[in-house]
Amino acid sequence: MSVIESKSNGTPKVGVYVCHCGINIASKVDVQKTVDFARTLPNVTVATEYKFMCSDPGQEMIQKDLRDGKIDRVVVASCSPLMHEPTFRRAMVAANANPFLFQMANIREHVSWVTLDKNAATEKAKALIAAAVTRIVLHQPLEKTRVPVNSDVLVVGGGIAGIHAALTLAEAGRKVYLVEKEPTIGGHMAKFDKTFPTLDCSACILTPKMSAVRAHPNITLWTYSEVAGVEGFIGNFKVQVKRKPRYVKEDLCVGCYECIEACVFKKGIVKDEFNVGLSKRKPIYIPFPQATPLVAVIDPLTCAQIKRGKCKMPCVDACERDAIDFNQKEEIKEIEVGAIILATGFKTFDAGRIARYGYGKYPDVYTSLEVERMVNAAGPTAGEVHIRSGEKPKTVGIVHCVGSRDSKTNVYCSRVCCMYSLKLAHLIKERTGAEVYNFYIDMRTPGKGYEEFYEKLLKENVHFIRGRVAEISDWSTIPQEEGKLVIRVEDTLVGAVRRIPVDMVVLSVGLEPNDDVDEVRRLFNVSCSHEGWFLERHPKLAPVSTFTDGVFLAGACQGPKDIPDSVAQAGAAAAEALALIDRGYVELEPNTAFLQEEFCSGCRTCVGLCPYSAISFNEEKNISSVNGALCKGCGTCVAACPSGALQQNLFTDEQILHEIEGVMNYV
């Protein structure tokens, strides 16, 4: 688009609408001044203000002026375009105007909310308005392109969130691919014995959902698998899934355990991941009795056959269905989906990082997850709580906020620790009758029935000491402390430092993002918070969407959550995905690159730069050519084009150059 064209369609008539946003803007920006200023700008035919431009009456003002022909292009000075640009563009369409003859000046997020001095704010607002006005003069009517949406969905992660999302979508008749990197689905929830505050058995409510997943005709379940590559965009993702070999044919194995019995190793030789190292497993194993799929898996790192290639392979003989297959290879599955739901969950904080709590140094210092397994009837100790010596502990200390609410580790509150600590306190007392001490900073029990549960624990005579534990050591100062673990803590209610000797310490570890969060994030092109939690598009209005359209979030991968919240969010994510699919199409921003062929010399500078291979060389015309469908509109090629022959819709050289003049020249 050149000036000649842009100016040919008569002198533009620009309408400027400044929003008060209640007092959000008006309290810092002198709205009236900005309006008077806007009137003085070239091509401005209407300049006015309103309390809430995004409200119906606000939009109506714009639409009326458009219909009355007072204006043919619109500048709204209000919040961030990322917030309301779609709103106003829709309003323009409703008034039969082209939605791209619109520009927003961000005078809230970028001005009123971040500026102390009122004059400075007003001046800055003026500058941004001037920029928008000078640029919009060069705007051209544009059309959005529509592309159809593939109706299948990929769910990544088979914890409770992934399971719930998958089932919801499957029930709605959508085809779902559920990908889990462990040999079984179930996630953390499968490890728990009871769930707070109702104390109903975790397995009893989870396992039915797990088998439902297995059984559902619309769900393709790929465990022991990872997403290896993602291409494409909303509605049309191409995904590669890497299926690791489990050396057991999934369709043949019935989970009869015969092979495991038969294994040359008569007892476990490696730390059992599912029991977080409290027990050992064999190279061939089934994570736990309710594993889904109930299929054995062989761990290549420890299996004698795979490692050394020499083993009598009794497992093979033991299997009547010939399910064991040492020749299995890793395979890559290619699938196409319209939407993706990330439910990759969390990891627990590594207690070893806080040396003064002595985890890994003192054998009787446990993490909460280890104790979760211990109290689990199906766990390594069959529900018995005892310390390494084999005795039942007489005194137990539960240390809250380990790795949470601490600037040295994680500043945030992990949200679940208070409640699960209460749960563990109850279970330990129930199983051992021990004196149980909770060391807490604040007791955080917001949630249905949570505070009541806390009350209940108080009545059970569990001790609560308010104060962050300073250290745990075997350093004894008095005979009573000999041979015990001594917890040093300032009891902030008593106002004194106390030393409490215990037999067993439970560290209530917080929740952290998974280690591979960076790879995952890059794979799906979503952003993360500082801590590494996936970033939602808007903390309030788009809590399950990401900045990459078509990719949604569910569960703790977005931030610490308990089971109810994870399930709720999973439902929301599923609904968002359905809304997208049922619309059937997506509209793409037209901010793509285009070539003014008469100015292209065919130098090929651009061709190598496009990350989406949207630019190719047209051999017979002997110049470049842009494939608008592939172009995502980054504008890198435009910046590089030595002839200025390549331009970007909504971001042409001239539009930006004008914007620069506008932002500098009038204020």
């Binding site: 050149s2 003014q596 008469e598 100015f599 292209c600 010399s601 065919g602 130098c603 090929r604 500078t605 061709v607 190598g608 730069l609 060389f617 002997n622 890198t636 910046a639 590089a640 084009c641 030595p642 002839s643 200025g644 022959a645 050289d653 150059l657």
Partner: protein, 327 residues
């Protein structure tokens, strides 16, 4: 009717542009037939007074080459502007400042110090530098004032047309003159050359690889240049992609990279910046140090990207806080 009057003048230039006129060869006779040359210091004995005595607009067209960097040049071009119907900026220097424009990397004092004191071999015990006025026994002698900043012709007077090139290619000169004689002129302000980059007419274009990315930039003296292959693809900083065609790819045909004398095409605002952007974009690395290393082979960004056009850069000249009110 009488033949249209034509004037030639040179400002800060090397004389190459005058040569270019002579290069018209036999055609020059046609020109002389068609027009009446009323002023041409390098070739004919007319004086300033002769021009001053003409009526305003009497000269049909003035071809002015060279950049403007002295009070005298300024007076002369203003005079010619007044007397001429059309003014054509002739050649890179008038068009974009040209090689003299690189003086904008320095200021006058620095140049005087260099020329009159520092250059090895200069003998100047008395520390004499040119004075604008000098009381000689014969009376007051004056010299024009040398500007601190070199300007393009259109930074001093309005220019109607531009004939690009160092010097302008003969065919373009002929086309321009014929166009003027026939009165078939494009809109004012036009550059009288095709509005597309050199690659379009470069014989090496066909040899360009699919992707032009480079791991190393080379300088002509460092390599045996392949006479067929695209020079940029060989890692040589050829500015063909950024530069207006019309020269018939004279340099690249002679196995030399284009240095940009024809200037940018009309879609480009700042030649050097576009050149810089295009070249940097070709760097085939995402590693900060490697990028540094590869680009360090662009030894002289200013001289490379603004060889003929520094005064037209948006920066115009080397920044001088002191003289420019900045702190």
């Amino acid at each position: 009717m009488s033949k249209p009057k034509v004037a030639f003048y040179w400002c800060a230039s090397c004389g190459g542009c005058e040569e270019a006129v002579v290069d018209l060869g036999p055609d020059i006779l046609k020109v002389v037939e068609a027009v009446d040359i009323v002023f041409w210091p390098v070739a004919l004995d007319f004086k300033r007074e002769d021009v001053e005595n003409m009526a305003d607009g009497e000269v049909a067209v003035s071809f002015i080459n060279g950049a403007v960097r002295s009070s005298e040049q300024c007076e002369m071009v203003e005079l010619l502007r007044r007397k001429s119907g059309l003014v054509v900026a002739f050649g890179s220097c008038a068009h974009m400042g040209g090689i003299p424009g690189l003086a904008n990397l320095f200021d006058r004092k620095a140049m005087f110090d260099e020329v009159y004191f520092n250059v090895p071999g200069v003998v100047n015990e008395e520390k004499i530098v040119p004075q604008e006025e000098y009381e000689a026994p014969e009376g007051m002698v004056t010299l024009p004032n040398l500007w601190n900043t070199v300007k393009t012709l259109d930074q001093v007077i309005p220019v109607d047309y531009y004939l690009p090139g160092c010097p302008p290619p003969v065919n373009l000169i002929v086309e321009a003159i014929t166009a003027i004689l026939k009165g078939k002129l494009p809109p004012r302000g036009s550059v009288l050359a095709p509005d597309i980059a050199l690659c379009d007419e470069c014989p090496r274009k066909e040899t360009k690889p699919e992707k032009m990315l480079q791991k190393e930039f080379k300088r002509p003296h460092e390599v045996m240049i392949d006479p067929e292959k695209c020079l940029l693809a060989q890692g040589l900083l050829c500015l063909g992609p950024i530069t207006r065609k019309g020269c018939g790819a004279a340099c690249t045909k002679a196995n030399m990279p284009c240095t940009g004398c024809m200037g940018p095409i009309s879609k480009v605002v700042d030649y050097g910046m576009k050149a810089l952007s295009a070249v940097a974009s070709l760097v085939d690395s995402n590693d900060e140090e490697e990028i540094e290393r590869i680009l360090s082979k662009v030894v002289d960004p200013v001289g490379t990207f603004y060889r003929y056009s520094l005064p037209t850069s948006l920066l115009h000249r080397h920044y001088q806080p002191a003289t420019q009110g900045g702190k």
